[in-house]
Symmetry: C2
Subunit: 447 residues, 2 copies
C-alpha cells in the first residue's frame, strides 16, 4: 500500500515549521501588546454548537465526526432505508471539527459569562477545518489567528483591531490594504432597491467592476434577474472613478428614510476618521463576506504585491452568544490567515534568514566504549545550550563524514582512545577544513 | 440552548495556555539540543493509514470523520439494511483524526523516503485524539510531544532518548523513574512458559505484585486460566525483593534455547550499562504497553511525587513503514504527555512564576477626541514593546477604575484636554496609589 496525505492537507517539514513559528511569534507578541489574552478551545465541539452559524453552505463544509461504537443502533428506520444522508447525519454524529475560531469563542463566552470581566479580549491561534475543494492557498486544514473583543459596542474596538492589522502586517513585511464595509449599509441598500433576496448576487457582480466594466456588471445583474428599476437605483455605485466621500454623501441621501443605513454610514465614517492620513484602509461597497453572524463593520485584508485571495478578515457581530442563551454580548474580531501569510512571505522572499535549527558538533563513533564517554562530553555541551550529537553507529569514517556534510554540521569531534587518555578533543572545522586538538578543559572554557 | 464542551475536551484560558507554552518551550529546546528537527503532520489522515496499527482496541478508539455530501449514496445495501456499523464505517468514512504521532510519522517517512538522509531525527508536538472514556489525566484530545529517530538500529538511540527524558524532566522540575522492558524478553517468556495467548493477562496480573502480593497474583493468574505449570515456570518473577541483576541472570538461563530472549536481555543490559550510576532507570518485567508496533525496548515514565499514570512512554519498532511499502526503516521513539506533565507540575506548584501577559498602561477614555489622540501615544508605547490599552467607552471614571483593578493593570494614564494642551501625561501608579504629571517626551525618554 502506497501511503498518501488526505486531500487538502500538508506535512510541514523543519523549515516550514520554523517559518510558521516565526510568523506566529510576531502575531502573538502584537496580540499581547494590544491587551488580548490567549485562549485555546478543543478541536471538536458538539455538532449542535456549530451548525446553523455559517449559513447553509458553511454547514455542509463542517467536518462531522462519526459516533463511536455501534452508531447505527438507534438510527431512525425510515431515514436509514430512504438513504437520507442529510437526516442521518445528526443521528450518527454528535461532534464536529471547528470551522472557525469565532463560534467556539462565543460558546466559551456563553459558558463562562459570569466569570469573565468585560470588555473581554482574547486571541486564539489554532487550526480550523473545512471540507472545501482545495486550491492554491486554500486547504482543508489551516490556521486561523484571531483577536476578538466582546462586551463592548465602542467603535474604538474596530479602530484598535485595524491598528493591530496594520502594525502586525508592517512587521511581517507585507504591504496590505484593508477593505471595509458595513453590513448595515448592505442591508439598507437592499431595502432601498428592494432586492433583499438578491443582495449577494448584486455584490458579487459589482465586485467585478474593475474586470468587466460597467457594461459587464449591468449584464450580469440582468442575468441574475435583478430588475432594471433596482439597477437604476444603484447605478451610482458603478462609477469606478467615484471617491469614498462621494459615495458616502450619496448613501446619506438615499438612506434618508432608512435609519439602519444612516447608522452604518456614521459608523463607517467614524472609523475612517481615525485613519484619515492613510490610504491603506479603503471603503469597498462590494465587500459582503459569507458568514451569517456579522452585523456591523466587515473587514477583508488583501496583500498588495502578491495575488492571493484575502490574508485576513473579520467584522462585528451583535448576537453571537444569543443562540447559546446569553444576550447582550456584542463583539468584533479579526482573523489572520496564517497559511496564506506564509505563502505570501515565501513569494516575497521574506524568510531568507530562517534556517533549520543547527546541530553544532557531531561526535565520531569509534565503538561502544569511546561512544559512551563521548556522551558525557555531549551532555556538557547541551548543558551549555549547544546542540550536539553522537553518530549512532561505529561505521566507517567515510559514512560518518557523509552524514555531517548532508546535515551541514559545522564541527566534527574526534574523541578516540588517544584523546580520551590525554583528556583532549580533536575538532575539525568542516567549513574551513582545518583541524586541531585541544584539552577538554580549554575547549569548555572558551565556549 | 445551554452550550457545553464535547465530552473529554477542555478550554484553556490565558494562564493554562501560558503554562503549556512554558512546558512546550522546554521540550522544544531540548529536542533541538539533541539534534531532532521539527515536523508537523495533518490532524486527519486517510483512514487506511491509521487502521490496523494500534490493535483492535486502538482501532475502535480512532475518531472517524464522516464523508461529506451524500455519503450514503454508494453504500452497500446489505450492510445498510443489516445495520452493521462495523461494515459501514469504511464506506461512509475515509478519513480519521490521528491517534498518535508515530504512525503519521511513519507515513511521512514512507512517502519521503528517497529525500530524507538517515538516521532521520524528528520531533513533533501536536494534539492527538482518542475516543477513550475520560478520567483524571485522560482526555479525548491531548498533546503528545514525540522524538523519534529512524534508520538506525544502534542502541545508542535508546540511550540518547533516555538522556533526553532525564534532562528534560530534570529541567521541568519533575522527579521521574523510567521503567524499561523489552518486547523480545516478553515474547521469549511467553514462549518459555507456553502462554503466548495470555501474555498480557500475565503481565497485567504481575504488575499488581506490590499491591496484592504474591498470593494475590497467583490467584489472579489462575482466574485468568493460566496453568499451574506456566505459573511454576514464571514464579521467579514473583519475588519483589529480587534485584535487576538476579532477574537478568535467571532470564539468561531460561532463554538458553530461545535466541530472541537472549537478544532482548543483551539489549537491555547494554542500555542499562550507560546508566550504571543512576537509580532512575528501572527494569520492569511487567511493562508491556499496548501498542502493537513495538518490537524491542519499551519505556514508560512515572512521576515520583504525584499519582498520575505515566507521563511518557515509547519504544523501538522495526517494521513501522513496512505496511506502507518501505522496508528496513527501524526506529525508536519516545513521547512526552504534555497534559499530564502540566497536571503534575500544577500539583507540585511549579508554575508559581507564570502570570498572564500583563497590560502595563490603561488610558482613560474622556471621549472620542481625546481617545483618538491617546491612541497615538498608545501606538508609541507598543512600538517600545509595552502592552497598552485604551478604555473603549467614555464611561464614568469609576467604571474605568474597576476595569483596571479587575485586570490588575499597574498604571492608569489620564490624557485629557489639559494634558493634551500641555503635552503631558498624568500617570497613576495603581499599586502605590501615587499620581504624577510629566511631559510626554520625558515619559518616553525614561522607558
Amino acid at each position: 500500500m502506497k501511503p498518501s496525505l488526505a486531500k487538502g492537507t500538508r506535512d510541514f517539514v523543519s523549515l516550514d515549521v520554523l517559518k510558521r513559528r516565526s510568523v506566529i511569534s510576531v502575531l502573538q507578541r502584537n496580540f499581547e501588546l494590544f491587551g488580548y489574552q490567549p485562549l485555546e478551545t478543543p478541536s471538536f465541539e458538539n455538532l449542535s454548537t456549530l451548525t446553523g452559524k455559517y449559513g447553509e453552505e458553511g454547514d455542509r463544509l463542517i467536518f462531522k465526526i462519526l459516533n463511536s461504537g455501534d452508531y447505527l443502533a438507534k438510527v431512525n428506520d425510515q431515514d436509514l432505508n430512504s438513504r437520507s444522508s442529510q437526516k442521518l447525519t445528526n443521528q450518527i454524529s454528535d461532534k464536529a471539527l471547528r470551522y472557525d475560531l469565532t463560534v467556539p469563542f462565543a460558546r466559551f463566552v456563553a459558558m463562562n459569562h459570569g466569570k469573565l470581566s468585560f470588555p473581554f479580549k482574547r486571541y486564539q491561534i489554532q487550526p480550523v477545518w473545512r471540507a472545501d475543494r482545495p486550491q492554491k492557498g486554500r486547504f482543508r486544514e489551516f490556521y486561523q489567528c484571531d483577536a476578538d473583543v466582546v462586551g463592548s459596542t465602542s467603535l474604538f474596538q474596530e479602530i484598535e483591531l485595524l491598528r493591530l492589522y496594520f502594525k502586525t502586517f508592517r512587521e511581517l513585511g507585507i504591504k496590505i490594504q484593508v477593505h471595509m464595509n458595513n453590513r448595515k449599509i448592505l442591508s439598507a441598500l437592499a431595502q432601498y432597491a428592494e432586492i433583499s433576496d438578491q443582495l449577494i448576487d448584486f455584490t458579487v457582480a459589482l465586485d467585478k467592476l474593475d474586470k468587466i466594466g460597467e457594461g459587464g456588471v449591468r449584464e450580469e445583474l440582468k442575468t441574475k434577474g435583478i430588475s432594471d428599476e433596482a439597477i437604476a437605483k444603484l447605478e451610482f455605485l458603478f462609477d469606478s472613478n467615484s471617491t469614498h466621500e462621494k459615495i458616502v454623501q450619496k448613501l446619506r441621501e438615499i438612506f434618508e428614510g432608512i435609519p439602519i443605513g444612516l447608522e452604518g454610514v456614521e459608523e463607517l465614517d467614524f472609523v475612517f476618521s481615525a485613519f484619515a492620513d492613510s490610504s491603506d484602509l479603503v471603503f469597498n461597497i462590494t465587500l459582503a463576506r459569507g458568514l451569517d453572524y456579522y452585523t456591523g463593520a466587515i473587514f477583508e485584508v488583501k496583500a498588495q504585491e502578491v495575488e492571493m485571495g484575502s490574508v485576513g478578515g473579520g467584522g462585528r457581530y451583535n448576537n453571537l452568544t444569543e443562540v447559546f442563551g446569553v444576550k447582550d454580548v456584542p463583539g468584533v474580531g479579526i482573523s489572520f490567515g496564517l497559511d496564506r501569510i506564509v505563502l505570501v512571505m515565501e513569494e516575497l522572499g521574506l524568510f531568507e534568514t530562517i534556517t533549520a535549527p543547527p546541530v553544532q558538533y557531531l561526535f565520531v563513533n569509534y565503538g561502544s566504549e569511546e561512544a559512551l564517554k563521548s556522551l558525557t562530553i555531549i551532555d556538557k555541551l547541551r548543558e551549555h545550550g549547544i546542540s550536539s550529537e553522537l553518530y549512532p553507529e561505529a561505521s566507517k569514517l567515510k559514512k560518518q563524514f557523509a552524514y555531517v556534510e548532508k546535515k551541514a554540521i559545522p564541527y566534527m569531534v574526534f574523541y578516540g582512545s588517544n584523546e580520551i587518555e590525554n583528556k583532549e578533543l580533536t575538532i575539525k572545522d568542516m567549513v574551513v577544513g582545518s583541524q586541531h586538538t585541544i584539552p577538554i578543559e580549554t575547549f569548555f572554557s572558551t565556549l
